[in-house]
Symmetry: C2
Subunit: 130 residues, 2 copies
DNA sequence: TTGCGTGCAAAGGTTTTGCATGGCA
DNA sequence: TGCCATGCAAAACCTTTGCACGCAA
């Protein structure tokens, strides 16, 4: 809107972090503790929510902590899968899952928001422990 | 599996709360502050995560707070979908979703645990607000 | 110069953990 | 009687807020 916004060094630094690893999900902690960045805690949170609002990055909540990721392509449709055992987060971008979304929408009248959805389960390495 | 577990008064009290309002979502705070229950804070959290693990209740993370709700359906295989807008929980049991599980397992090496997975999105009635 | 942005510290809220006691089997 | 469960308090986290100073325009 008509918000006055300054262009600061900190904004560049943080945005470049996301751009440098556009497929990586960052936790706020990870960013705050990054020595090569060294931004104030409050600043990180303020910039993150600002970026989210501006559509530069995406936020999704996973349990207690939030994850942030560069938004490479506006409506990029992919799912997240989190391993219950090791905690690793996986991305899956596959045409079949789009079909699933459509199927659920048409046959079950539910419109999945894959940005807010995380599939839980076990990854290849952790499966044996089940 | 070979976990020793005692049957306690507190477990009954908490489980009965969920059973008494099987469609209601409770926040941890709500439960802790319920005078008629009066369970210790730590106990509530411990029992909640225990119930979740046992499949007795389901946990949803919506924004900051976690929500807990009775899980009517024992261990059978189907997915849950929760409307972000109205909070209603839907069940979906459809052969296609089994195919999806298999697909993810075979082609993406991830083994979805549908008991712990909830799809978030908008139901038919709430979709217009999106 | 103006006033937004930053960083520090403190506050606020949720969940976890340590430890002594209580209660089930 | 063993040993898990409970409850209290403290700790551990994540995130927000207040405030003085710094810095962009």
């Amino acid at each position: 809107m008509n918000e006055k916004s300054y262009h600061t060094k900190q904004k560049d630094i943080l945005l470049n972090l996301f751009k440098s690893q556009p497929h990586k999900c960052f936790t706020s902690r990870e960013i705050i503790e990054d020595e090569s960045i060294s931004l104030g805690e409050a600043t990180v949170y303020r910039l993150l929510s600002q970026f989210v609002k501006d559509g530069l990055i995406q936020k999704f909540t996973q349990g207690k902590a939030s994850l942030y990721q560069f938004n490479h392509c506006g409506g990029d449709s992919h799912f997240h899968m989190k391993c219950i055992e090791c905690g690793e987060l996986y991305h899956i971008d596959c045409p079949m899952l789009r079909d699933v979304e459509n199927h659920i929408a048409h046959d079950h009248n539910f419109f999945v928001d894959n940005l807010n959805t995380t599939l839980y389960g076990y990854c290849k390495g952790c499966r044996k422990d089940t």
